[in-house]
Symmetry: C2
Subunit: 467 residues, 2 copies
């Protein structure tokens, strides 16, 4: 964050997708024919995002060859900008020693993200290629939930003893300038024995201080620090309430573990929101249309095939009432409406629970609170929608009893849908299942079955009034 | 962003929802009974987010009374942290002169967000209470698309002439310290006649320079600047590629308009992603369960009532084939499946187009490109899903022809759904309609109608093989 704006003219260029395809072709040619220096130079002159996109266009083999031929620093810089799923695939495809060398050049939080996304045996193979100290540190990081301070922190911090002088600190900063440049460093920390955090140094104060002043004299004592378990909702709130660029992370005894930056929290919140949207729309893994067709088809089918089976299960309820349907064929018109509308009502409740969870406003155990709040809304909306559809049913069939059947069925099922929809994210989260992925399909299967059963069951009971 | 970490202990407190309700009660009591000083002091000691949540819990009357009784600075600080919809309602409810006074204490980008969200007559009434210069400036800001550099920039920048000395600049900084503190200022800009941007000053360099040095000597010449029309996708990419905290915004001739910060871009991207999710799930306006029940019911119904009408329209296709249905009642089992599955396939394509739009990978006019890419996936997935459901149909009805009918209908409709789903966001965006809001309902209505027509139409044509 500290790099100064450098001389370049106004820059309103656009990057149409075609250019990524072109770059990928040029890159693929260099990978296959050029020498290492040419390749390295070519990658160097690309903008990071441009380079990342071109890498995504490469075939898996070309991508592996590229990463092996670059020096580890360069390969690591490239992978940091690539979407995580793509980076994970790439790392898994390389020999473990190459992967280990590349990963060790990444910031600690990126290392942890990548390793925790790998299959266990792949991760173990890569960890085995690292020094035992590095491997243990990394395993420790991987153990944190990615949506907590521990999971979001970088462990690369500047930490000094109270007795360190400004001259010593500046010396250390200068010698490591290259490494710290890319690490968003704004503060240095002062630690006592056992790495216990005792103070914060602003880099600004260092610049203005006398060379012989000590860290202990310049530091701000008793700094704010957050526990490694602090969830992202609270981190978000923390950075809203405080104008800091980063906050130190400590474990129970006050030992300094790392620093969480505002940028890391913002990035994770944004990617969580994007992920919720993607999963709500049935896209299980990020898809860009330049990806190979077969892969895109396969990714989409992985979701659709589960859905079609659930749909068949739900529709089997209809099959059980074939006799009623034959006698009151008008009901067939209302089945898809009841199915779709209950899904809509339930999804709204899912979304509100997801939002309250991500804001830290509810805990997974507060089911009762949520139900109480949804019950009233479910009754009101069930009444409104039931009456509306009931009127349509009466008018369409010319029989008020058909109106009653669809009204009661939709009204009741609306209440069922909001109660189930609101509680699913809480229940799934408490059981460690991803609520964004599972809420939709489970919800619609249950509400479909329940809705079909209600309308056809009621119709069967009232059959004499309907025919 | 420049405020230093100050002395406070470790802070792992949690904010359960109950506390917001309690705070709101205490606040409401003070609003009704306490004097202005007590009220002001009470608000002052709350954390910003805590205060914002309590305000959301207040009744509309108490909220208005609170904002009127606080001094404008304090009211403005409070409203900045409240969700935008809530802030807009509050401002609209106040007398225009009070609203104007409060709004004028906000940073320029917040002013613009708020005013552009107001109804035209309310906005005009408030602008009429401002000085003509301020009103014109604000109107200018409101005219930018909120997803561009112009819409995201703050106009409060530090700008100096080349001849200004360090002593003069530092003097200005100190005198305005309070105002600049909350503005994320990291750089100052050097402008020539007509406010044309000619250089950037790092605040860090100022601190180390001689008092008599001039801005012209210290500045970095020809700084990177972005045009006011730069879309958010490019801003996102810019901050990924450059380690800056902010970038100056200029208009065509190079005149300095303001600065876009990394934080503003991140915040907007996050809120766009959250909004996409919310709308995809049918929540048209942010809902928190502590809001009044009637309001929550009304907000949800505003979406559901449109949906139920569209559903009735789509289902009317089924009514037209009552005769066929009566003879092949098994078809009733497959109607909801075809409706739901086509919706799923179409939604996936919507999500991929939304993502590519937000990444700046496609332009709204690139329909042909998108169709070409979707056609192959649509054929593949249509084949897979069609064959699967066809097999179920054959097995269920014991008649291969019923299998053929549902297979062809679902297969064809899958292709239709991905072609429509992928193009809707582009078409809507090109026409200035919100793609996130409109894609879902339009898509499912069209695919439902098309799917029902395909399966029932085919069945009618092949009736002799089915009965």
């Amino acid at each position: 964050m500290e790099t100064p704006p450098t001389a370049t003219a106004i820059d309103p260029e656009d990057h149409p997708l075609e250019s990524a395809e072109q770059l990928a072709e040029e890159l693929a040619e260099l990978v296959r024919m050029g020498d290492d220096a040419d390749l390295s130079q070519y990658v160097e002159q690309l903008e990071p995002r441009e380079a990342a996109r071109a890498v995504c266009e490469l075939s898996d083999e070309d991508e592996a060859r590229l990463l092996e031929r670059l020096i580890p620093q360069q390969a690591s810089a490239l992978l940091i900008d690539v979407p995580e799923v793509e980076a994970v695939e790439a790392v898994a495809a390389l020999p473990p020693e190459t992967s280990a060398a590349i990963i060790q050049h990444m910031p600690s939080n990126k290392q942890a993200d990548l390793v925790s996304a790998l299959a266990d045996d792949e991760a173990d193979a890569i960890l085995a290629e690292m020094s035992p100290t590095d491997a243990i540190k990394l395993q420790q990081l991987v153990s944190y939930d990615p949506d907590t301070a521990g999971g979001l922190m970088q462990t690369e911090v500047l930490a000094f003893r109270e007795s360190s002088t400004v001259a010593q600190i500046l010396q250390r900063l200068r010698s490591d300038a290259g490494r710290f440049r890319q690490l968003d460093i704004q503060y240095a920390y002062v630690v006592a024995r056992g790495r216990k955090l005792v103070g914060v140094l602003r880099l600004r104060d260092l610049l203005l201080a006398d060379d012989s002043a000590t860290a202990g004299e310049l530091m701000i004592e008793d700094p704010i620090a957050l526990d490694a378990q602090t969830p992202i909702a609270e981190l978000d709130e923390f950075f809203d309430d405080h104008a800091f660029l980063g906050v130190p992370v400590v474990e129970a005894g006050g030992r300094l573990l790392g620093v969480v930056t505002r940028a890391a929290v913002d990035e994770q919140s944004q990617s969580n929101a994007e992920r919720d949207y993607r999963l709500a729309m049935g896209v299980v893994q990020e898809e860009i249309r330049t990806m190979p067709t077969l892969k895109r088809s396969r990714l989409r089918l992985s979701w659709l095939s589960v859905n079609i089976l659930l749909n068949v299960v739900a529709a089997s309820v209809i099959a059980g009432f074939q006799n009623t349907l034959e006698q009151v064929i008008a009901l067939a018109v209302f089945l898809p409406i009841i199915s779709d509308m209950s899904g809509c009502s339930g999804n709204q409740a899912v979304a509100v629970s997801m939002r309250e969870l991500s804001l830290g406003l509810i805990e997974p155990r507060e089911l009762w609170r949520v139900w109480r709040k949804e019950f009233t809304v479910g009754i009101l909306n069930g009444l409104a929608l039931g009456i509306l559809l009931g009127a349509v049913g009466w008018w369409y069939a010319g029989n008020p009893w058909l109106g009653v059947v669809v009204a009661v069925a939709l009204g009741t099922n609306t209440l069922v849908a909001v109660l189930i929809g609101s509680s699913l994210p809480l229940i799934l989260k408490a059981r460690g299942v991803d609520p964004a992925l599972a809420s939709g399909p489970i919800l619609t299967t249950v509400t479909d079955m329940c809705g079909f059963f209600l309308v056809l069951g009621l119709a069967t009971v009232m059959l004499e009034y309907l025919v």
